[in-house]
Amino acid sequence: MSEVGALAWVVTMLTVAAIYAHLRVPSWIFAVLGAGTLVYCSFGTNRLFGSLVWWIGIAAIVLIMALTTRQPLLTALLTIAAIFFSTTHEPPYGPLAMLGFLLAVALIKFGGAWSKRQPASNSLPELRPNQFIRVIAYAPIGASVYLQTEAVISATTLRRSAPWLYPLAMAGVLLLLYQQSASVSVGAGQGDEAALGNFYAPQHDNGRDYRWSKYESNITLARISDAEHITLTLSGARPTPAPPAASEIWVDGSYVTTISLTNQIADYSFDYHDLSLDPRLTITLRPTATFYLSDQDYRAVGVIYYAARAESNAAFGLLLPPPSLALLWLLLIVAVGGLLPAAYSPRVRFAAYLVLPLFALLIWIGGPLEGLPLSGAITLLLLPLSAFVQRAPLETWLARGAGWLRGWRIWHVWLVHAVAVPLFYLIATIIFTWPYILDLPRRVPGWPMDNFNFLYKIWWVGNALFGNPPPGSSLTYNPNVFYPAGFNLAQGELTPANTLATIPTTAIFGPIVSYNLLVLLSFVVSGWGMYLLVRYLLDAPPLTPTPPRYGGGSLGQQGGTNPALIGSTTQNSKLKTQNSTLIALLAGLAFAFCPYRMTQMGGHLQMLGTEWLPLTFLFLEKMVRRRRWQDGLIGGIFFALCCWEAWYYAAIIGLFVPLYLALRWWQLRRAGQQVGINPAPTPNPPIGAQSIAPSTGGINHAPTNIRYPQLKTLLAFIVAVAIMVGPFALPYLQLRDTGSLAYSEQLANQNSAVPTDYFLPSELHPLWGETFMQLHRWQNPLEDNLYLGVVPLGLFGFALAGWRRERRQAASPLANFPFMPYLLISALAFVLSFGLGFHIGVLFDKLKVGGSDPNATLWLPGWLLYKFVPLFSAIRAYARFGLIVTLAVIVLAALGLAMLLARPRFAPYRRLTIVALTIVLLCDFAANPYAFGMSRVESQPLDVWLAAQVGNTPVTMFPTDYAQLSGPAMWSSVYHGKPITYGYESFLPALFQRPDVAQPLASFPNDQRVWPLLQGWGIKYVLVATYWWGTGWPKMRDQLAVNPHLRYITHFQERRLWDGNVRLWTSWPDFAWHAQPEDVWIYQLLPD
């Protein structure tokens, strides 16, 4: 309380400055700077008072404050008065403060400000009514920041009360802050381009700007609250009498309502509420019909847009911040909270003092949040809560919770590992992918493409077993797709792990739910698998010298684990990695939600099946440590499941399995020799053996005999793989004889990574994703988002730097961690992900430094694999080696974290550090709302029409480039049931690769060979997708109208299936043809 008066004085002086000196900047900036002034003065006074640094800081503050107003001298004088008199009134500070105040009063009184004051208009030129309340908040915030940090750093009487008192007070202030009625609006004029997407150019009429919408146009507003009241000013005017215009309204890819428009300008309002993390609110207009304004105007226009306005809407009587801001608060709080422990060190305390206010200022001034209304709350909450976050109450709570968990674990170990941990990842998945869980029966993630292919396969396997498959079909063969060749599912990924596993769910819930369950479960099991792997690696007993038993060898046996490599029980029981469970949980989160996986969720179901990868490595490690054939068997099953997911993983992971085994066996054998552990037990100790080497403490340099147990383990592994994988490899072997299952070198190299892919932040991030999406725009959007994350990378770096020292510590529980194997694996996978040859120029292009020869190529090891190792020639995307890099980096990051937490100075903050890192990691990997959107799975009018046609005559579609690259086109056959001559798969059937078939189809309708070909196949209906032809469609339409082989029947405008962010088109225009609803024209093929 003793400082209340001093604080009040500062507030008074700054308020006077704000009133009389006429602010040059928005009032909130002034207020924040004022709060920063207070903070600095407080810190500086306590620690630096009177020093040169203190004076420099004061001078800087006075200068900054002066620059914020139109009368800098007046502000400078008042600031001096504020600072000095609040510091102390002893000489020289008190007299100087009063001198400054007197001069300021003189300036006000005699310098014109006094006489010019106009209460109504001139008093607070920059302060708007709804911002006043912020001014109230800033001063106590400054006090709070000061008291908080002071309470943490020094032992004062406030230490106990402040951590709880001030955050609570600030939470109340912030809540109050949010009760103001904020709003944002966007017009239609020239200056509004940034917020408008896919509109026509602005026009002006009757004093108002307006724009015509297209078939789909969107308006982007800043999200200002968790609940919005949105008003759109629109007109449905038409040049000629026509049915009333209507438009669907979508917000953030979700349908909201359909409004009927009048010819007049009118406001249309609706409420919207969601928990999206996107700081932007994207309103999409989808007119139900477009038309041409005149014969001379070729713009297909929808409705007229004038303005959009969003106001925060109270939910439950309170306005709450949007989730994106809440997330950022948390992120920044944690980031700053992480700095505070460092402040305990006197050496860096001063830096911490400076960092805190500077950090806040940087957020305000330079951050990308500037455009967000109410983002000021970030800073307001940031600093006081940062102290709170790292304070003892939370830590005590965590410790209590962990203690409870420990006690619980003693009795329910299996429950924790088998139930609690998966449940944790399930909850995390639901939250991280929200609201995906609500879409299970309706939509699949990603834009319509590969996802429909896998959906089809899931449906097909269920249909082949329990449905009504056509004659001649089998589990892996459907004669009605790619007719007349038929669709062998082995032309792409059979992915039995997905198709076979979902037979029950497909039978009960249908293929869409099955697909989505697979996606969700992949997150859960991936996290769980990584948890188990990391926990085992951290907790596995180290290899240590042991007292001799039976003479030369040491055979410490412990709980069913490796009898050979377990050392002294007494010593090892003390050597346990601290917080290994929490570290493993964090590693699981990092793996489950890594950008690689989040990106593959956009349609590559088979690549999303990464859950078996960490489990495979877990049992590889167990194989070499325990050498039990059961471990080999289970390891083989998990590796086989990897192969069942995707042949890519068979090749990629298969490359590293022998490498890992060889490295680990060699490593452990060497370690065993060094510490004298003879893995081969000697059942009958020789008489008198104890006298052989008693003085060596059990160290024995005798050669070991480990061949037999390893062989048995390895054999079990191979047998499991052969039994499980063999049957599914047969279709591929057959196809290799009939057609090519290989990509060209160019194609194989096309989707490869560049080094920056691992370091560029995720393109899916709700805040900065679009920026980095631009940097990936020349790549495949699904392949090159390989960002490793700031937390894994940082910890990985720590592991790299500290491993050498850690390894030498005999008492370290991490001494036997497979550091080197994982490091080598990550390095090798890193290089292989660059493909066959590295286009050096591409990297420079990506970094925008230019000046390089784009054709310069550095041939890489991947080329050798492509040429000489089976399966690798069928790899289209070498960037997928990035998964191995991700896995290895996360494993080593877990090691780094364990090493970090083992340091004594981190002892009080272990759990807190893990919690903080977890929050940072999740904020870094955030991908909500999902940038690739969701695709609705539903029938189109065309499907309904085709289904109604009598007979089972085949249908073909042109152009083939579209038909053979459209997942939804293949999926449509599920609805109409007609044989189709097209499909969507990695490789085409051999028939469609033959030049005499491929060329006529590709040249439709100009190649005359196409007509007898189609007639020979018995085609009745020819479908022509118009969008693919682009502006050439009217000409093509006229050409088809006079074609003697075709008769026009009808055409259908399809509904758009994709609910996603049309801004993606900026980065990848190819998205457009996936996202655009097709206009399909139907012709009947006439006999000659």
């Binding site: 008066g5 002086m13 006077v16 009032s27």
Partner: protein
């Protein structure tokens, strides 16, 4: 009474009020600034010092902090006069802050100054063996009660 007389009287009153206002703006801060030139030092080159004090200085210390109680009120008045006619929330904040300043700054400075002075007096009058305790009390008194942010 003639209207002109009323107007003239009113004008006189207004002028008198304006003069008082100007005086109120300057007098308090001026006196505080001057008198603080003679404030006993706790800080020398930014370092807190608690040197031996002589009885005359103790007397001045106590007197100064009694005098300052109303003077801080005058400083608050000066600040208030700058804000008095101003409308709006910002001015209201300023006025509330002035009230807080006037009450708390003056109160705690008086408590601190007087308390410290009295403790020093006590320390001077106390046998040497008990002096360390008194010095610690002195320091605590300065830390806890000082209205400034200058705590050590």
């Amino acid at each position: 009474m003639q209207v002109s007389t009323v107007v003239a009287n009113s004008r006189q009153v207004n002028e008198k009020a304006a003069s008082l206002r100007v005086a109120g703006l300057f007098v308090g801060p001026l006196i505080v600034g001057l008198i603080d030139l003679f404030h006993p030092l706790h800080f020398v080159n930014g370092k807190m010092v608690m040197t031996n004090v002589a009885p005359p200085e103790l007397g001045w210390r106590i007197a100064l902090h009694i005098i300052q109680i109303p003077l801080f009120g005058l400083v608050g008045l000066a600040a208030y006069l700058l804000l008095a006619d101003q409308p709006g929330m910002a001015a209201t904040i300023g006025k509330v802050a002035v009230a807080l300043f006037t009450v708390f700054y003056a109160a705690f400075d008086a408590l601190s100054g007087l308390g410290t002075g009295l403790l020093m007096q006590y320390a001077v009058d106390t046998p040497a063996v008990q002096t360390p305790l008194s010095r610690r009390q002195l320091k605590i008194s300065s830390i806890i009660l000082s209205p400034s942010m200058c705590r050590k």
